[in-house]
């Protein structure tokens, strides 16, 4: 199933207290070299049918009017990609297709 990813970030000019707290933790734990951290949101919209122009227009509207609030946030990206579950399924399928080729355990492997 296609997955549509919408990325939303707090507006660049606004203070992001969550990001600031994480930046503080990085500095405290000795991870220097990071001048800032900002935290945004990633939405994954899963659809059954085809991703056509009508759906894309709908996604654009949802992203701007519901998933984000333009007073405080920006939609920074809308991506059309496969879901993690789908990628995992594909990997499992690929693995099972090769299962009949057998697996010869190296000497010493016990499981």
């Amino acid at each position: 199933m296609p997955t549509i990813v919408v990325d939303v970030m707090p507006k660049a000019e606004l203070l992001d207290p969550q990001g600031k707290a994480v930046a503080g933790a990085l500095a405290r734990t000795g991870h220097t070299g990071f001048t800032g951290v900002r935290i945004g949101k990633r939405f994954e919209l899963i659809v059954d049918g085809p991703v056509d122009d009508a759906l894309k227009a709908s996604v654009q509207q949802i992203a701007e009017e519901i998933l984000s609030n333009s007073v405080i946030e920006d939609v920074v990206g809308i991506h059309y990609e496969q879901s993690n579950a789908e990628l995992a399924e594909e990997a499992a399928r690929a693995a099972s297709e090769h299962a009949d080729e057998g697996y010869v355990a190296p000497a010493g492997e016990t499981h």
Partner: protein, 232 residues
């Protein structure tokens, strides 16, 4: 006068708001977010709390509730609407009020008795106060930082629509110390602090006279009742 208090999933202060309405001499009407019926009320209160767990954004999902269609219509027709805390966040998400509320600049939840200056006494909810009057009511929020772009802030100030400003300390990083605003007509008012928690001696903020004797919040509710009587 009948004043509706809408309960959303996660509302906390709906009962307090109903009590404040009763103490102000009006009849509180409990309304449910999932309904499309305002039950003929004369005014509306959107109470504080954490509707829908503040998922997505504070007040965002509540602003899409079924009853909000009727709330927006009623507000645009001139019905008095007061949004307190989470209710204020809903009003901004529903585009009845401008600006937005973000996480407090210091990152912490805050709960304190807060001094406010009433800067506009012509709204439906503040007509009983004196211009410039300082009042003390509880403030309790994690995401109460009011923000808007400079043009909007200038316009709000220019049109006298900054109804309340924080005095003494800015508790959450709100731009220009703004604690509450109104729409152009003055019937829709939203603020982060909680007037409904300062309506009855023994349960309000401390005053110089006695502990927990502060009832500065009562003026919000008596204002709207008084205005209804004048117009009747």
């Amino acid at each position: 006068m009948r004043i509706g208090v809408i309960t959303f999933p996660g509302s906390l202060d709906d009962r307090d708001a109903q009590r404040a309405v009763r103490l102000a001499g009006a009849e509180p009407v409990a309304l449910w977010h999932g309904s499309h019926d305002l039950e003929g009320v004369d005014a509306l209160i959107l109470p504080g709390g954490f509707s829908y767990g503040d998922y997505l954004r504070c007040g965002a999902i509540a602003s899409l509730s079924p009853i909000m269609t009727e709330v927006v219509d009623a507000a645009n027709r001139g019905m008095p609407v007061l949004g307190i805390c989470n209710g204020f966040q809903m009003l901004t998400e529903a585009h009845l009020l401008e600006g937005g509320l973000i996480r407090n600049d210091h990152g912490s939840f805050i709960c304190r008795d807060q001094v406010l200056r009433v800067e506009n006494t012509s709204t439906d909810w503040t007509s009983g106060f004196d211009a410039g009057q300082e009042i003390t009511i509880p403030l309790k929020n994690g995401e109460g930082g009011f923000i808007a772009d400079d043009g909007t802030l200038d316009r709000l100030e220019g049109e006298g629509r900054v109804v309340f400003r924080y005095v003494g300390v800015n508790p959450n990083g709100s731009l220009r110390d703004i604690a509450g605003i109104s729409n152009a007509r003055g019937n829709v008012v939203g603020l982060m602090p909680h007037p409904e928690h300062a309506v009855e001696p023994g349960f309000g903020p401390d005053t110089a006279a006695a502990m927990r004797s502060g009832v500065d919040g009562l003026g919000f509710f008596t204002s709207v009742v008084q205005r209804a009587l004048v117009e009747a």
